[in-house]
């Protein structure tokens, strides 16, 4: 559990003076997550996007630690190279063996759900020791609010327009966190900027693990969601309370819901947002119903994963098998137990 007084005393990793919009969810996410590193040095990467362009306008940078931006789809691949260098240079004796650095790769939902998914999957499979954070604002916001694989059903964006023929986005969003969890990495979780304690606790946990870890963080974009600039945290909270964005973690393949939430109807999350305005026109009730059905179905899916995890643990115990992290395998790529050829 994070203590807000202690957190307030930690070094700021992202300096003010950047040009992100007022009330931007992404910067809140970055600042909270990097608190999870405590006082250990952090090296970050970011995919091309708002976070990168607004924090590194040459010759200024807001990043207090090392930072690299490469291309849109390559935050995970780039960070895997950085992390590989850390190990290679240690092995060569060019970096002290006891030096500690936390590595954190950031990407938006466009750079993670869509164009960067392959690079992320490869990095997870290879077992690199870094935390990947997707700050999910549900569209390509940097290029002007275009739909992504994370854009919610029926939402308006500039490439899921609302007109007489089409009522916004026609597809449900991709379940990225489950996709990541299917890599059987030590830790994957879903969090929100509205629940700071849960978020920082998860970030700390993820960074303390030796191996690939993942956070999918709800980080509203007031511009794209069409809410007032002071409402990013509030709307994220409603996302959690309506189960649009359930908070959970998958630790060693064991699924767990991490917050007791008030269950509110999905309208409470949709109504304040201009991108869903058309849903509330008479005759469009079915769209809200479909949205609610999908939210409820996904929550039932998560509950089933939680219940199934108990059965999974029992099965492991019965067979005398360890949880994936407990045998130390596949966590630090490149390290192998002594063996005979």
């Amino acid at each position: 559990m994070a203590n807000i007084k202690q957190l307030s005393e930690l070094p700021q990793r992202l300096s003010p003076g950047h040009s992100m919009c007022g009330g931007c969810g992404a910067t809140i996410a970055v600042r909270q997550i990097l608190m999870g590193a405590g006082k250990t040095p952090v090296v970050c990467s970011a995919a091309t996007g708002c976070l990168e362009v607004s924090t590194t306008t040459f010759p200024f940078t807001s990043w207090e630690g090392g930072f690299i931006h490469n291309t849109f789809q390559s935050s995970a691949a780039t960070m895997s190279g950085v992390e590989a260098a850390f190990r290679g240079l240690k092995r060569a004796g060019k970096i002290p063996a006891d030096k500690d650095i936390k590595f954190v790769a950031f990407g938006g939902d466009g750079g993670t759900y869509d164009i960067g998914l392959q690079a992320l999957s490869g990095a997870l499979e290879r077992g690199h020791d870094f935390l990947y954070v997707c700050y999910d604002n549900g569209a390509y916001m940097n290029t002007g609010i275009q739909r992504s694989g994370a854009t919610p059903y029926s939402a308006w964006t500039t490439t899921s327009e609302v007109g007489d023929a089409v009522p916004g986005k026609r597809h449900f969003e991709k379940d990225l966190t489950s996709i990541v969890a299917a890599h059987h990495i030590p830790y994957a979780a879903q969090a929100s900027i509205s629940n700071w304690n849960d978020l920082v606790t998860k970030a700390t946990k993820a960074m303390d693990i030796d191996g690939p870890t993942f956070l999918n963080v709800l980080a509203p974009c007031p511009r794209g969601w069409r809410v007032p600039f002071d409402q990013a945290v509030e709307i994220a909270k409603l996302g959690v309370q309506t189960n649009y964005w359930p908070l959970y973690e998958v630790e060693n393949d064991v699924w767990k819901l991490t917050e007791n939430r008030r269950k509110l109807p999905i309208e409470d999350f949709l109504r304040p947002q201009g991108r869903f305005r058309h849903l509330f026109k008479p005759g469009n009730e079915h769209l809200i119903k479909e949205f609610q059905t999908n939210v409820d179905r996904h929550y039932a899916y998560l509950q089933a994963r939680v219940a199934g995890s108990e059965a999974y643990k029992d099965a492991l115990e019965e067979a005398g098998l360890p949880l994936i992290s407990d045998d130390g395998l596949a966590l630090e790529s490149g390290s192998v137990q002594p063996f005979q050829q």
Partner: protein, 397 residues
């Protein structure tokens, strides 16, 4: 004197040996024909504990270059290898590597690009990257592929250069065929290549740096490009001096532009890569018959060695350029364009003609080269008659 091991080796295997001897800190790589032998051989060195390299078997060439960029920015000596579609796939990353001034060394087994799919040697892939800011060597044979790769570290990591270097070898002809090669001993190579000491590193947590920033305002973008141009132009002298140093170590001569018979040649062929030897062979035979022919082979294409090329061509009466890369719709292939521009820039109006040959590994025969030398006899008359020197295909059905 260094200990030299003489062996029968493919070009790919020699590149893998050069990588082993340079002992890189990180090698991210993805397999693609005809580069695969490099990956396979190097991974054996990793498995045998002969290198300290962190081998990163990535899921694509895009990620190979992305990881190389991350590793190099982190201060690691970083190498990779690719070919063809793989090089095309990492294209946007090539600009990033050069723009960030990262001294990555990459071997490319030059190969045709789809469609139609073809795995054999030509220069379509590497020529697609000629403006990315990478220094480019073209090996004539397996020995040069090894030598170029060792020299590449010295050039890339030179503080006045700090640009990535591609050492290229022609697919299959050089990458796979076995040739007599000489391998220097590890100590000699280690002393020659030296250790990479980065000026800036992502892992220097006491002096943090931001890499890959947003240069959108003012004219910072243009400034970085000008700085790259100057570094690239200046690199030619460093390529030459490193080449001379290597010459002293290996006993093998190094010239950025290799000439044969140009002291009195009237008809000259300009060519790169594995075909240099073929053309030289034909030229030898023709000169034995008293024909005044010559050969100019480029070992370095970026930076383009204009002055050296002009010096080699200034007395020729007719010049053929052999291009192994189509520029469909362009006035000629990349080597012809650069050659014509270099001659023009000093007011030389010798007639030239571009010959497209060997695309997708099409055979480069003695007859084909003889035809080109023969063609050159009429080039001046054609020009006087106002005939445009069109791109001429050789060796097609």
């Amino acid at each position: 004197m260094p200990d030299v091991t003489v062996l029968a080796s493919s070009g790919d295997q020699m590149v893998a040996e050069a990588f082993r001897q340079a002992n890189p800190d990180v090698l991210p790589v993805y397999p693609i024909t005809p580069q695969t032998i490099i990956v396979e051989e190097f991974d054996k060195f990793v498995a045998q504990g002969k290198v300290h390299t962190e081998f990163v078997p990535v899921e694509s060439e895009h990620s190979a270059m992305a990881a190389a960029i991350g590793a190099s920015a982190a201060g690691a000596r970083t190498v990779t290898a690719t070919a063809s579609q793989g090089l095309a796939y990492m294209w946007e990353e090539l600009y990033v590597a050069a723009g960030m001034r990262l001294p990555i060394v990459m071997a490319n087994a030059n190969r045709a690009l789809s469609a139609p799919i073809n795995i054999h040697g030509d220069h379509s892939d590497i020529m697609g990257c000629r403006d990315t800011g990478w220094i480019m060597y073209f090996a004539e044979n397996a020995q040069e592929a090894y030598d170029d790769t060792l020299m590449a570290f010295r050039v890339a990591e030179h503080p006045d250069v700090m640009l990535p270097v591609a050492t290229t070898l022609d697919g299959f002809i050089t990458s796979h065929a076995l040739e007599r090669c000489e391998l220097l001993d590890d100590e000699t190579v280690a002393a020659f290549v030296g250790e990479y000491k980065p000026e800036r590193s992502l892992l220097d947590t006491d002096n943090p740096n931001s890499f890959g920033m947003f240069a959108n305002l003012g004219n910072f973008y243009m400034e970085t490009k000008l700085a790259m141009r100057k570094a690239m132009e200046g690199s030619l002298d460093i390529i030459k001096s490193v080449g001379k140093e290597f010459e002293a170590v290996s006993g093998r001569p190094f010239e950025v532009v290799k000439t044969y018979g140009t002291e009195d040649a009237e008809r000259v062929i300009v060519v790169m890569g594995s075909s240099i030897g073929n053309v030289r062979h034909v030229a030898k035979q023709l000169r034995a018959k008293g024909e005044k022919v010559g050969v100019v082979g480029l070992r370095v294409f970026r930076p383009f060695p204009s002055n050296e090329l002009v010096a080699a061509l200034k007395d020729a009466k007719a010049i053929a350029v052999m291009d192994r890369c189509e520029t469909v719709g362009g006035q000629g292939g990349p080597l012809w364009q650069e050659t014509a521009a270099a001659l023009q820039s000093v007011g030389i109006t010798t007639p030239t003609r571009d010959y497209m040959y060997g695309l997708g590994g099409a055979d480069v025969t003695v007859q084909l080269i003889e035809e080109i030398f023969e063609d050159l006899k009429t080039l001046e008359a054609d020009k006087a008659a106002g005939k445009v020197a069109d791109v001429t295909y050789k060796g097609n059905r």
